[in-house]
């Protein structure tokens, strides 16, 4: 069953068409990937899904609900969370605070009852803390909970960003180049990490990636974008041998 449907989405900025008539269906519970050369429109597609941009044409359906044009915070509340290409952690705040903040959207108490430390607010705060610490523990980050986010090593920062997205109780995770800047062994670790969280938390994962080994290793379906157009979709093998995909990445051979 498809959890996310992108229907005929076109995104234009002035004269530039970043995404052209895109159609994607992500299956629930799967790990799927969006690849393509730089500038192909992948992050733009993510930004349309998460509400940062409102598409010029087309719509986005999440679990049979039209979420096109909603603001990012509302979309996150519905169950879609993302990470960023350039890591956007709350740098000066602690690891634990980063996770706690991702719990805020589920809070029922208003600011008055929180400030006055009324019993039900205290209970919610306690629950948020327990939940956050459990999550950190499961992902091997509990020991770092009081460290400032920007003091973490790079690999841990990426992990934390994914953990933070998870903490919003998302069912669909959009990961934007999670392996960027990682060496092969770190990428391997990330690969099993992604598998683990998908199984453990019953997630659907849709990621943008350039590390082909990671993509080929764990993706159950791959979409290929070039100049804003979808040029291929299918399993890893199908895509690997697709002529158009090869040309997009390597260019066309010049006639001698």
């Amino acid at each position: 069953m498809s959890i996310l449907k992108i229907n005929n989405v076109t995104m234009q900025f002035g004269g530039v068409t970043a995404v052209n008539n895109l159609n994607i269906e992500v299956q629930e519970g799967k790990i799927e990937a969006l690849i393509g050369p730089n500038g192909a429109g992948k992050t733009t597609a993510f930004n349309v899904i998460t509400g940062v941009y409102s598409p010029t044409k087309g719509n986005v359906i999440y679990k049979d609900e039209n979420i096109t044009g909603l603001t990012p915070d509302k979309i996150t509340k519905k169950g879609i969370a993302r990470t960023f290409q350039n890591i956007r952690l709350f740098k000066n705040l602690t690891v634990l605070d980063n996770i706690l903040i991702a719990n805020h959207l589920r809070l029922n108490s208003n600011f008055l009852s929180c400030t006055l430390r009324l019993p039900w607010s205290n209970r919610e705060e306690r629950q948020m803390r327990e939940k956050s610490e459990m999550l950190l523990d499961k992902l091997g980050l509990l020991g770092l909970k009081n460290e400032t986010a920007h003091s973490l090593p790079y690999g841990e920062q990426r992990k934390l960003e994914i953990a933070r997205a998870l903490a919003t109780d998302a069912k669909l995770l959009l990961l934007d180049e999670p392996a960027a800047g990682m060496n092969p062994s770190e990428t391997m670790e990330l690969s099993s990490f992604i598998h683990t969280i998908r199984d453990e938390f019953n997630l659907t994962i849709f990621m943008i990636e350039h590390h082909m080994d990671l993509v080929m290793e764990i993706s159950e379906k791959i979409y290929v974008l070039d100049f804003g157009q979808l040029i291929a979709k299918g399993s890893a093998n199908e895509v690997k041998n697709n002529q158009r995909v090869i040309e997009a990445y390597l260019g066309v051979e010049e006639d001698a």
Partner: protein
């Protein structure tokens, strides 16, 4: 020795000792056992400035918005207290050119109610201004709040039947004790601290750290920015109301936007993400502004008058101070940290290491 002191029990005793000392000083001052009216006034003013600076730090330092409207919100609080607490019998004497608005002329409120009303009114206006401006990038908030601050002053100067115009309102009942000012200040500091230490406080900080990430994590930027802005306005209004009672008069000239610069200096000096920093800086700056009044008087050394010291020099020094702070010491005293015993102990430890003194055997 410092390590031996650094435990929970010691900290508790030290805290109790400090609180007792503080209370004792206030009681002594209050009952006129020590000090004089001048010192009392400066301290009460410091307490008021603490409240307003903290309100500004909530919005600017913790949420990352750039608001310059504290003077305007103070004015709303001040005038609410002024309009409603002057005894009914005195009103006609004060509003002698244009009589007071007939509805208002019949209402007299106890100080506490007028004070809270002033705060709520300021918060309401903040919501009205905030809604159009905070829907978009907060860049324009500075201009909008600066403009609003001036507009409030213009309205107060012109709406004679409500505010008595440029004549101002005199005869505002004064508080018999310093505890009103310090009590409200302590309450405000505690409330703001509790707010910042809650999930909402974390949401504010998230917005300051990275707006886009905060929104992506489900935090409604609009709702939380307006919330922070309105709460900041509330406390600024409370500060204004207290000021009205302290000075016993209000007039529009007290609320020139330049007043807001004082609070900006305070929060930059104390550290824009630190509550304790703001509290300390409020007292330092308020006392400093008073003490440095001598900059404005001609200085004669050995019979020679030094031409630099004359009226206006004090404010030049203070504006230079603000510039130096933001250019070279933008984290101020405490940055985003709070004053704690740990911090003090660590500071001593570092100092004694350098001079090679004391310390437990390693």
């Amino acid at each position: 020795m410092m390590d031996k002191l650094n435990n929970k029990k010691t900290k508790l005793y030290m805290n109790i000792l400090l609180i007792a000392l503080f209370a004792a000083i206030i009681i002594l001052l209050d009952t006129d056992t020590i000090g004089d009216n001048y010192i009392r006034r400066v301290l009460n003013l410091s307490a008021i400035y603490t409240i307003v600076s903290l309100s500004m730090n909530l919005v600017n330092g913790f949420t990352g918005l750039f608001s310059l409207g504290q003077a305007g919100f103070m004015a709303i609080g001040a005038y609410t207290v002024a309009i409603f607490t002057v005894p009914l019998a005195e009103r006609a004497k004060i509003f002698y050119v244009v009589p007071q608005n007939p509805v208002l002329a019949q209402i007299e409120l106890p100080f506490a109610i007028a004070l809270v009303l002033g705060g709520l009114l300021a918060a309401l206006i903040a919501v009205l201004i905030g809604m159009p401006v905070l829907r978009l990038k907060s860049d324009y908030l500075a201009i909008a709040t600066l403009g609003f601050s001036e507009i409030i002053r213009i309205i107060l100067t012109n709406a004679k039947s409500i505010s008595n115009g440029a004549l101002g309102i005199k005869g505002i009942p004064q508080m018999p004790t310093m505890w009103v000012f310090f009590g409200v200040a302590i309450l405000s500091v505690v409330l703001i601290w509790l707010l910042i230490d809650s999930s909402y406080g974390r949401a504010f900080k998230a917005i300051r750290e990275d707006e886009i990430a905060a929104e992506a994590m489900g935090i409604s930027l609009f709702k939380h920015k307006v919330m922070s802005f309105a709460i900041g306005a509330f406390f600024a209004g409370i500060g204004g109301g207290l000021l009205a009672s302290l000075l016993a008069t209000v007039d529009p000239k007290q609320f020139y936007f330049t007043v807001t610069y004082n609070f900006l200096l305070i929060i930059v000096l104390g550290g824009m993400g630190s509550i304790s920093g703001t509290v300390i800086a409020s007292f330092v700056v308020t006392a400093g502004l008073e003490v440095l009044r001598f900059f404005d008087d001609p200085l004669t050394l050995f019979g020679v008058t030094i031409p630099i010291f004359r009226p206006g020099f004090r404010m030049v020094i203070f504006s230079l101070l603000l510039m130096l702070l933001v250019l070279f010491f933008r984290n101020g005293l405490l940055g985003q940290k709070e004053l704690s015993w740990n911090l003090i102990f660590d500071w001593f430890k570092r100092k004694s290491k350098r001079t090679g003194k004391g310390g437990t055997a390693q």
